[in-house]
Symmetry: C2
Subunit: 369 residues, 2 copies
């Protein structure tokens, strides 16, 4: 490794016991952003409110000259332009996408990286062509086991210069709802979400949804590039090979009631019936149950799930109400999916800060008036 | 003041000598966001990349039932709906908007609030009706000295429960280019930028551009509400009445060259000619000069300004190039406007962290290869 590159791009580290958010973490927090929690009110998150994580710089790609190469273990390699994608039957899938690092900044010790609290999520209508159709046209060789998706975004990470690349197991890539998406919420993809074309892998954390796609290569061995083999793994130590981050663990978020304090975001309500609502999702199975607590998780009651609408890959709305009495309260919410996966009340730790789906708590002050 | 409200919403404070960014500041950084610096490439910032600061929650307003009341020291009060605004001659103004708190997190000691580094800026095409036309229809009483603009966003700030409200001197409100804007970049305002109608005051910091407008009241005394009399003032101490934040001080930002390290955002280039470009703006006067340094501000050379396009209220592009040699370098850029206002190399401090337009520096590693 180039010594200067290594110096510019040091290894991962954990924050010290009393270390506040560092200037580097702040710089990431200023450019990436989460969903403002009041935007949980929208079934589909408006552009600009959907969470966003960019590893390097957003590349400036021209839709007219853009090409996607399908290469590797296929009968014939393909080169597709945007018209070639748009001329096929389009499919739209509503997908809740979440960063694998959501919740990282609530871990102790805190892995130093993009310091998400709970808000790295959003739901969009993605329109495009099922990847399987394009792969069928290329003809998948029986030896292929993964697709390696390469984006046009280029940078260095822990000393490794790279284009952003992720391998996805072939059986996942062949799912009907895995898309080469060219529209978000009915408009061409905005620059920050992968213009002109990105991959969408419903149910998986965001790292799988490769943006600014330029090549999809079929390979006959599992991909060992940085983003699969080093990053995005549940590890206990730097040397632990760990397990890969894949599907989204269940989570529910509460649309914070009342009104906020500017600085602390603490909520203020007045006594009486307070409607509560939020969203819940899981990449493993449909949401089966959402429970709410008004005493910080001591006791729970069931929220009412919104009607099933057949959109398996989108979050599910829920609602209930709470009788607020003067004083300080901690609201909490937890989701359980149909496979029995539930949010923990004590979070297991891992060195990358991935998959922290600890229950969401919201402190509320109820005024005396 | 309600004691519980005061407890939920404490006074402003300064960070301790070695205090990292606090959880509260992080929560603000996660929901508000700056422009990713590579987006300086766009003349007009795409929605979702423009900086965003929301004091409280974004309210959910319905365009069909929205009304704007024009009240106070006028001959006749008005109640306008969106059709009434849209039926008038529209005007579009390209405006560079910046948060008055941009640069706050680079101050020492650091005022604890939204922790901006340098990125709280963006440029949009705002379309709407000049406020002066609506005021003319209402008939401004000779006693009027300010317009007080009230948004639908509600919260508490340092113990004061409030709708977001700002007073603007009448002579500013009557400028041709001050708009009641209902479109951003040719589309209806998105929720986060004030849907359905916001005020746009070209040349002023963002706090003047009241979002989610619901009332404009003409008053015969300067407004003494929280956002004018307490916040958004250049103060040295908590008791100092200070001077109001008004127009945008000159600033230039560099579009970071080469490619970034994910974590540190440090830049990497290879030896040779490196094109440099960026944007510069000032609310006081047109940009007259942009200078660039490759030795952290020791020596400077002039960048070339893009051709004058008559868009007084938008940033001005500039470009130059730099011959990179292997090693570590610090690029810097500073702007001067036609009134002679220039960016400082040492920043004057104030307690709210406002108007920090210290020169922008970008560390760059040039590899040996």
């Amino acid at each position: 490794m180039d010594a200067q590159l290594a110096e510019t791009s040091p290894p991962s580290r954990l924050a010290g016991e009393d270390e506040g958010i560092s200037p580097e973490e702040l710089a990431l927090a200023a450019r990436n952003h989460g969903i403002p929690l009041e935007a949980l009110r929208y079934d589909v998150t408006p552009v600009g409110l959907h969470y966003l994580l960019t590893h390097y710089d957003m590349p400036a790609l021209d839709a007219a000259s853009w090409r996607l190469a399908i290469t590797g273990k296929v009968r014939r390699e393909l080169q597709l332009d945007l018209d070639a994608l748009r001329s096929r039957q389009a499919r739209t899938v509503r997908v809740t996408m979440e960063c694998a690092g959501n919740g990282r900044a609530r871990m102790h010790p805190r892995p130093v990286s993009q310091p998400w609290l709970v808000e790295a999520v959003g739901t969009a209508d993605w329109t495009g062509v099922p990847l399987r159709e394009v792969l069928a046209e290329a003809g998948v060789d029986p030896s292929a086991v993964e697709v390696v998706c390469t984006g046009a975004d280029h940078g260095v990470e822990r000393g490794v210069e790279q284009d952003y690349q992720r391998g996805l197991p072939l059986q996942e890539a062949l799912r009907d709802e895995v898309l080469l998406a060219y529209e978000m919420n009915g408009q061409p993809l905005p620059p920050q979400h992968g213009h002109p074309v990105r991959l969408v892998v419903p149910g998986w954390y965001g790292m799988a949804h490769v943006k600014w796609l330029r090549e999809i290569s079929l390979v006959d061995e599992p991909f060992t590039g940085f983003q699969n083999a080093v990053a995005y793994r549940y590890k206990q130590t730097a040397d632990d090979p760990g397990e890969p981050a894949t599907r989204i663990a269940p989570r529910s978020l509460l649309l914070p009631p009342g009104f906020p304090d500017f600085m602390s975001r603490a909520r203020v309500v007045r006594p009486g019936e307070v409607p509560l609502q939020g969203r819940a999702w899981s990449g493993h199975a449909p949401i089966a149950r959402v429970e709410v607590s008004a005493d910080g998780g001591g006791t729970w009651w069931d929220a009412e799930l919104d009607a099933e609408d057949g959109r398996r890959w989108a979050w599910r709305g829920w609602r209930t109400s709470w009788r607020a009495e003067p004083g300080s309260h901690v609201l909490a919410v937890r989701a359980t999916d149909a496979d029995g996966n539930a949010q923990p009340t004590e979070q297991a730790w891992n060195r990358g800060g991935f998959g922290n789906n600890l229950v969401h708590t919201v402190p509320v002050t109820c005024l005396a008036e």
